[in-house]
Amino acid sequence: MNWIGFWTLTSREVGRFFSVYRQTIIPGLSSSILYIVIFGFTLEKRISSIDGIPYTIFIIPGLIMMNALTNATSNSASSMLQMKLLGQLPDILQAPLSSFEISLAYIIGGTVRGTVNGLLILLVGMSLADMTIADPTTTILFIIIVSWAFSSIGLLLGQLAESWDQLATMQNFILTPLSFLGGIFYSIKMLPEWAQVASQYNPIYYMINGLRYTILNTSDSDPLTNLSVAIVLTIGFTLGAIMLMENGKKIKH
């Protein structure tokens, strides 16, 4: 293992998004505050509580998850695509680094960004809505696992995409709808029967509910299933990203 090389690439990935925090950290934070203030406080008058939990607090785990997974995905995806388009990728591919080390460095970069964003929204929720956390350790672990899974997805997308347009299409037409339909703003019990069944095929549904369970002790789905889906997705997409890197499709000739 080239530990120094791996650490260098990881710190570059983390340093990259911190150096542009106005693009990578502040927007998620400010939009989540707006969601809490506008959706939460205005809709709370109409939807007083879900499972006995005030509506404003109910949506916070969903907002945390949405921020964590979108940031984790876009970090590794945009970094990989950017390196490809700006001609930086050969510096890494020609160095004595394995596909495993390169993939892991990118995934960790995205995981850190997803986790930082998720935790910031958690803090916002605690301070703005007086939210208390049922199991803080599991909450943090869950945010890390989900960020890791979506950072791996981002790395897959970044390797496959050949333009910003392609990447935006994948993110806007797949990830964003799945996030919103995963139950950020509602309990699936509020949906018609067919939509409840359809939601069970959306992996993000389990992640939002998993996090909601660790924070609020309530979930539409079985907590163990939530955790299992998160772990299986994490392992599957991590292996997929590493194998694609090893294969070199769209990054090597």
Partner: protein, 308 residues
């Protein structure tokens, strides 16, 4: 047994229906300055990219100091520093940090790399630009930074892919001087270039590559001598002298008052020929030397100029 620095055997590569390499054989000894000459699309960059792992070969072998570039990639890549033809861009970090990153990828920690980074910035005249972003550098500075990146992990083999493309004459000469210094310290250098003068001046050996094949390989002097039309033409005033007796050690043709000597090294042979002719009693009226360049050799072998 001492292995060559670079050994390429029967290397083949196709991109779809296009054959990029038809079976290249190249051997570069440790410490040699080797030039790979050829027009665009000849297969130079593909060859380099296969050596460094950026392109996958279809068949053939590529070894660095006797180690396969695929199965022992960690060793082989750590031996190579590459200055790519195309500039990479970066929007986030100052060039000093980029150079430390580059060292890090090769397993060199920041504290270990500090001396080398300082030395390179100083030697390549980039010291005042350490905190600048790449986009703030001129073309010449970007080229120098590209070279610094290739050298920061102190590789034994340096690959210079068109290292002086787009730089002004002054910088080109400064870089030539630097490359010579590196060569004198024992580095093996593989140079690809469009500037034949560059290869003639710097390289111990060159290979001319065209349409994915090595057409010829040798020292610049041998190539220009054997494949070119180098020679000495001397006009003498009296033709009574028995030239055969006096000039039997030379290869020449004689027609009336004009004698043409075939020579691989006209400048070196000229004093001796004049001496022999003078002693034979010939009155020399006019002397003309012709020396072929690699450009002429290239033209003769490929039927086109290197920049066509």
């Amino acid at each position: 047994m001492k292995h060559p620095a670079v050994s390429i055997r029967n290397l083949k590569k196709k991109y779809g229906d296009t054959t990029a390499l038809k079976g290249i054989d190249i051997n570069i000894d440790d410490g040699e300055f080797f030039g790979l000459l050829g027009p665009n699309g000849a297969g130079k960059t593909t060859t380099i990219n296969i050596l460094t792992g950026l392109v996958r070969k279809d068949s053939g072998s590529t070894d660095i100091f006797g180690q396969d570039t695929i199965s022992n990639y960690r060793f082989t890549r750590s031996q190579i520093g590459i200055s790519a033809q195309e500039f990479a861009q970066d929007w986030f970090f100052p060039i000093e940090k980029l150079l430390y990153f580059q060292a890090g990828y090769y397993g060199i920690s920041k504290s270990e790399a500090r001396y080398k980074v300082d030395e390179l910035f100083d030697r390549l005249g980039l010291d005042k630009k350490r905190k600048s972003r790449l986009r703030e550098l001129s073309g010449g500075m970007k080229r120098r930074f590209q070279i610094a990146k290739a050298l920061v992990h102190d590789p034994k083999i340096i690959i210079l892919d068109e290292p002086t493309a787009g730089v002004d004459v002054k910088l080109r000469h400064e870089l030539w001087e630097y490359f010579s210094e590196l060569h004198q310290t024992g580095k093996t250098i593989l140079l690809t270039t469009h500037y034949i003068e560059e290869a003639e001046m710097l390289c111990d050996k060159v290979a001319i590559i065209d349409k994915g094949e090595v057409i010829i390989e040798g020292t610049p002097k041998d190539l220009t001598g054997n494949q070119g039309d180098s020679g000495i033409t001397i006009n003498i005033s009296d033709t009574e002298v028995d030239l055969k007796t006096h000039l039997n050690e030379f290869s020449y043709s004689h027609e009336n008052e004009r004698i043409h000597f075939i020579s691989n090294d006209p400048e070196g042979d000229l004093p001796k020929i004049i001496d022999v002719l003078t002693k034979a009693g010939c009155h020399i009226q006019r002397v003309e030397t012709t020396k072929s360049s690699l450009e002429d050799v290239f033209l003769k072998l490929t039927g086109k100029g290197i920049n066509e």
